[in-house]
C-alpha cells in the first residue's frame, strides 16, 4: 500500500513538473502572438518604423519560445497514457477529441502561417503578411480554447454519460465543450497570458530604458506594457472574481481551502493572512476582515460560507498549497494594478520616461506574470484534488499500474534533462532580451532552422529573386 502511494505521489510530481515547465511557453506565445499582431497593425496604420522594429525584436523571441513549447508539449500528449492510464481509458472518449482538436489546430497553424509570419515580410507583401500574423494569433487562441475546454471538463464535468465499462462517454458535445467553468477559465487564462506577456515586455523595455532613456523601441515596449497593466490588470481582478464565484458554486471545497476556512459560518470573515493547519483544522495567526468573506462569495453580509469541516477529510485538497498559492496570485495581481496606477500618475504628469523608480519596479515585476500564472495554475489543479474528474474519478484510481522505481527513474530523468535543455533555452532567451532594440532590427535569419518556422517553412528557405539562398 505504501509503495503504491509512493508511485502515485511520484506520478503526480512528474506531471506537475513537466506541466509547469510546459505551461509557461504556450502562455507566453499566446500573449506574444497577439502582441505581435497589434504591433504589426499599428505599423501598417501609422507607418511608424519603430513598431516594425519592436515587432522584429519580439518575433525572434517568439520563435524560440514557441519552439520550446512544442518540444515540451509532445511529452504531455503521451504522459496521459504512460502515467495516467486508467484516467486515459475512462476519459478518452470525452477528453480525447477535445485534445485532438487542439493538436489539429496547432498543426494546421504551423503548417500554414508560421513560416509566412516568420520569414515572409518581403515575400508576400504587407497585407498578406499581416493576415498571417493575425491568423497565428487567432490560432493560438483556438488552441487555448480546446485545451482549456478539456481542462475545465475535468473540473466541472457535464454532458456525459457512463457506459457499462465505466468509461465517460459524450452525451451532448455542446455541454461537454461549454461546461460550466469553461467560459470563466478561458477568459481568466487568456487575460493571464496577456498580462504575463505585458509584464515581460515591460520589464525588458524598462531594463533598456534605464541604460538608454532615449531608445525609441524600448519606450514603445514600456509604454504599451504599462497601458496593459493599467487597463487589463483591473479587468483581470473582475474576471478572477467571477471565476471564483463559479468555483464557489461548483467546487466549494476548493474555495474553502483557498480562503483557509475550516468552519462553516454565516457572515464569514475574509482571511488575509495566516497559516492553515490541516491537522488541527484551523488557520493560525489569522489576520481577517469581518464579514467580507461572505460578502465577496455570496454578496450578502450574512451569507453562509461552508468550511472544510463540512466535508470528510478524504475530500480535502492540500490546504497549505492552495492557501499560499492563492495569496501569491492575488498579491501579484494587486501589485500589477498598483504598477498600472502608478504609471497612470506619471503619464498624467508627463514623466513616464523620466521615472527611474517606476522603471526599476517594472523590471522587478517582469517575471511577475509567470509567477502569478504558475501560482494560479497550482491553485486550480491542486484544488481539483483528490479527483482527476471532479467528484467522479479519484486521482488514486486514475494512475497507471507502475512500480515506484520505474516512476522515480523517469522523474529523475525529466528533471535532469529539462534543467539542462530549458536552462540552456532560458539562457539564450535572456541573452536575446539583453540586447537593446535597434532601429535596424534583423528578422529571424533565413537558412537557420528555426523550430517555429512551422512544419512547412517553405517561405523561409525558398529561393527567391530578392533574397535567395545563394545570394
Amino acid at each position: 500500500m505504501t509503495e503504491f502511494l509512493d508511485a502515485l505521489v511520484l506520478a503526480r510530481l512528474q506531471f506537475a513538473f513537466t506541466m509547469a515547465c510546459h505551461i509557461v511557453f504556450p502562455a507566453f506565445s499566446i500573449g506574444l502572438a497577439s502582441y505581435l499582431a497589434v504591433l504589426e497593425g499599428l505599423w501598417l496604420l501609422t507607418g511608424r518604423d519603430v513598431y516594425l522594429q519592436v515587432f522584429k525584436y519580439w518575433l525572434r523571441i517568439f520563435a524560440l519560445v514557441f519552439g520550446m513549447g512544442v518540444v515540451s508539449g509532445i511529452v504531455m500528449s503521451y504522459q496521459f497514457g504512460t502515467n495516467w492510464s486508467v484516467y486515459a481509458d475512462k476519459t478518452g472518449a470525452v477528453i480525447g477529441p477535445l485534445m485532438g482538436y487542439e493538436v489539429l489546430t496547432a498543426f494546421f497553424l504551423e503548417a500554414g502561417f508560421l513560416g509566412i509570419m516568420l520569414f515572409g515580410v518581403r515575400r508576400v507583401g504587407r497585407r498578406l503578411h499581416f493576415a498571417a500574423t493575425l491568423l497565428v494569433a487567432i490560432g493560438t487562441l483556438f488552441s487555448a480554447f480546446w485545451i482549456l475546454s478539456a481542462n475545465s471538463w475535468m473540473q466541472t464535468p457535464a454532458g456525459y454519460a457512463v457506459n457499462a465499462a465505466g468509461q465517460f462517454v459524450p452525451d451532448d458535445w455542446w455541454k461537454v465543450v461549454f461546461n460550466p467553468s469553461f467560459p470563466y477559465r478561458l477568459v481568466h487564462m487568456v487575460l493571464a497570458c496577456y498580462l504575463t506577456t505585458a509584464f515581460a515586455v515591460g520589464g525588458v523595455g524598462a531594463w533598456h530604458l534605464l541604460r538608454a532613456p532615449a531608445n525609441a523601441g524600448a519606450r514603445v515596449m514600456y509604454s504599451m506594457a504599462l497601458w496593459m497593466a493599467a487597463l487589463v490588470a483591473p479587468v483581470q481582478l473582475l474576471a478572477g472574481d467571477q471565476h471564483g464565484l463559479n468555483t464557489f458554486a461548483y467546487q466549494p471545497a476548493k474555495v474553502a481551502a483557498m480562503e483557509g476556512d475550516f468552519e462553516t459560518r454565516e457572515g464569514a470573515p475574509l482571511i488575509l493572512l495566516g497559516v492553515p493547519d490541516a491537522d488541527a483544522a484551523t488557520t493560525r495567526y489569522a489576520v481577517e476582515i469581518p464579514r467580507l468573506g461572505s460578502l465577496i462569495l455570496t454578496h450578502e453580509w450574512n451569507g453562509e460560507v461552508r468550511g472544510l469541516k463540512a466535508w470528510p477529510r478524504s475530500e480535502w485538497p492540500n490546504v497549505t498549497i492552495l492557501f499560499f498559492c492563492f495569496r501569491i496570485m492575488v498579491g501579484l495581481g494587486f501589485a500589477m494594478i498598483g504598477l498600472g496606477l502608478w504609471s497612470l500618475w506619471h503619464r498624467w504628469r508627463g514623466s513616464l520616461f523620466a521615472a527611474p523608480w517606476l522603471q526599476r519596479a517594472a523590471v522587478a515585476m517582469g517575471p511577475a506574470g509567470f509567477a502569478a500564472l504558475l501560482a494560479g495554475w497550482l491553485v486550480t489543479e491542486t484544488g481539483r484534488q483528490p479527483y482527476t474528474v471532479y467528484g467522479l474519478l479519484r486521482t488514486a484510481d486514475s494512475v497507471s499500474p507502475l512500480g515506484a522505481p520505474a516512476v522515480a527513474g523517469s522523474v529523475a530523468a525529466f528533471v535532469i534533462v529539462y534543467f539542462a535543455v530549458f536552462g540552456a533555452g532560458l539562457f539564450y532567451l535572456l541573452r536575446m532580451a539583453g540586447k537593446a532594440p535597434q532601429p535596424e532590427e534583423a528578422e529571424p535569419q533565413a537558412g537557420i532552422p528555426t523550430r517555429t518556422a512551422g512544419i512547412t517553412p517553405a517561405p523561409a528557405l525558398e529561393p527567391h529573386p530578392a533574397a535567395g539562398l545563394s545570394s
Binding site: 472518449a93 493538436v103 498543426f107
Partner: protein
C-alpha cells in the same frame, strides 16, 4: 470486416504511424549517421538537408498518439504503461534532438554538445521505438482493462533485435536520403553507408519476419494457412524485389531509386506487420472494435481530421516539392 467508424479510425492512425515512420525515419537516420560524418562541413550539409522538413515529420507522432487517445482509449491506456521505459526514453531523446536543431546555431562554443545531443537523441529515439515495436508485437499482458505485466516486460531478445533493426533501418533511410540529396564526396560516403545498412536491414527484416510467426500461433495461421497464403505470399516476394532495386540502384549510382526502394522496404514490413496483427490493436486479443471509443466521439473528431489532415498533407507535399533536388552545398547556407 466492417467498414465502420472504428475501422476508418484504425486506418487513419495506421496511416499516421506509417507516415511518421518513413518521414521521421530518414531524418532520425541522419542523426544516427551524424558521428560517422567526419567533416564539420558534411555534418552541416546533412543537417541542412532535413532542416526544412523534420519538424513536420514529427507531427505525425503527435497525431498518431493523440488520435489513439481519442479513438481507442483502451489501447492507449494499456500499451503506453506497458512500454513505459522505452517511451519515456524516446520522449527525452526527442526533446534533446528537437532543441539541438535550434540551439546548435545559437552558440559556437557549445556546438559540439548540441551535435552530440542530436546524434545521441536520434539514436536513442530509433532504438526505443524499435524496442517498443518488438515488445508490442510479442504481446502485452492484460487483466481487466489494464496492463498487468511488470515494468521490464518490454526487454526481451526479440525486442532488442527489433530495436537494432530499426536503428539500422533508419540509418538506411538516412543514407539513401543523403545519396539523393547531396553530391561529391559526401554522396560517396552516404552510398557506402547505404550498402552496409542495406545489407543489415534486409537481414534483420528476414530474422524478424521468420521469428514473428513463432511468437503467436494466430500470427502463424494469418500468414501460412490456406487461403491466406495466397494474399500473404506476395509480401516477401515484393520485399525481395525492393531489396534488388535498392542494391541495383546504389550500384548504378542512381539518385532517387535507392531511397524509394528503402521506403518500399519499410512500407512492405509495415504491411506485413498489419497482416500479423489485424484486427487486433493490442495483441493478443483486443480488437479495434473492443478498444474503440463510442461513435459519437469518433464522428466528432473525424470531421476535423477529414478537413484538416488533407490540408496539412498538402502543405507538407508543397514543402518537399519546394526543396526537391540536391542541397546546394556551395551556397553559404549557414553563415
Amino acid at each position: 470486416m466492417a467498414f465502420d467508424l472504428a475501422f476508418i479510425w484504425a486506418g487513419v492512425i495506421a496511416f499516421a504511424v506509417l507516415a511518421y515512420v518513413i518521414a521521421d525515419g530518414f531524418d532520425l537516420g541522419i542523426g544516427i549517421l551524424f558521428p560517422l560524418l567526419k567533416q564539420k562541413h558534411d555534418r552541416d550539409v546533412a543537417m541542412n538537408s532535413i532542416a526544412p522538413v523534420w519538424d513536420g515529420n514529427e507531427t505525425w507522432l503527435v497525431l498518431g498518439g493523440g488520435g489513439l487517445y481519442a479513438a481507442f482509449p483502451l489501447a492507449y491506456a494499456i500499451v503506453l504503461p506497458a512500454l513505459y521505459a522505452p517511451l519515456i526514453a524516446m520522449l527525452l531523446g526527442l526533446v534533446f534532438r528537437g532543441v539541438a536543431f535550434e540551439f546548435r546555431w545559437r552558440t559556437e562554443r557549445g556546438r559540439f554538445l548540441w551535435d552530440w545531443a542530436f546524434a545521441g537523441g536520434s539514436t536513442v529515439v530509433a532504438l526505443c521505438q524499435g524496442i517498443a515495436l518488438g515488445a508490442f508485437i510479442q504481446g502485452i499482458k492484460v487483466s481487466g482493462r489494464a496492463y498487468a505485466g511488470g515494468w521490464f516486460d518490454w526487454l526481451t531478445p526479440f525486442s532488442l533485435v527489433t530495436g537494432v533493426a530499426l536503428v539500422v533501418g533508419y540509418a538506411l533511410l538516412g543514407a539513401t536520403w543523403l545519396t539523393m540529396k547531396t553530391t561529391g564526396e559526401l554522396r560517396e560516403e552516404a552510398r557506402r553507408f547505404a550498402f552496409a545498412s542495406g545489407i543489415g536491414t534486409v537481414a534483420l527484416i528476414g530474422i524478424v519476419s521468420l521469428w514473428t510467426p513463432f511468437l503467436n500461433p494466430i500470427f502463424m495461421s494469418r500468414w501460412f494457412a490456406f487461403p491466406a497464403i495466397v494474399y500473404t505470399l506476395p509480401v516477401p516476394l515484393a520485399v525481395a524485389g525492393a531489396a534488388a532495386a535498392l542494391f541495383g540502384g546504389l550500384r548504378a549510382g542512381r539518385d532517387v531509386q535507392p531511397f524509394a526502394a528503402a521506403l518500399g522496404l519499410f512500407v512492405l514490413s509495415y504491411i506485413g506487420l498489419g497482416i500479423s496483427l489485424y484486427p487486433e490493436i493490442v495483441p493478443p486479443g483486443i480488437t479495434i472494435w473492443q478498444a474503440a471509443a463510442p461513435d459519437k466521439s469518433l464522428a466528432f473528431l473525424l470531421i476535423g481530421a477529414l478537413i484538416l489532415v488533407p490540408v496539412i498533407i498538402g502543405y507538407m507535399a508543397h514543402a518537399y516539392w519546394v526543396f526537391r533536388g540536391k542541397v546546394d552545398v556551395s551556397a553559404g547556407y549557414h553563415d
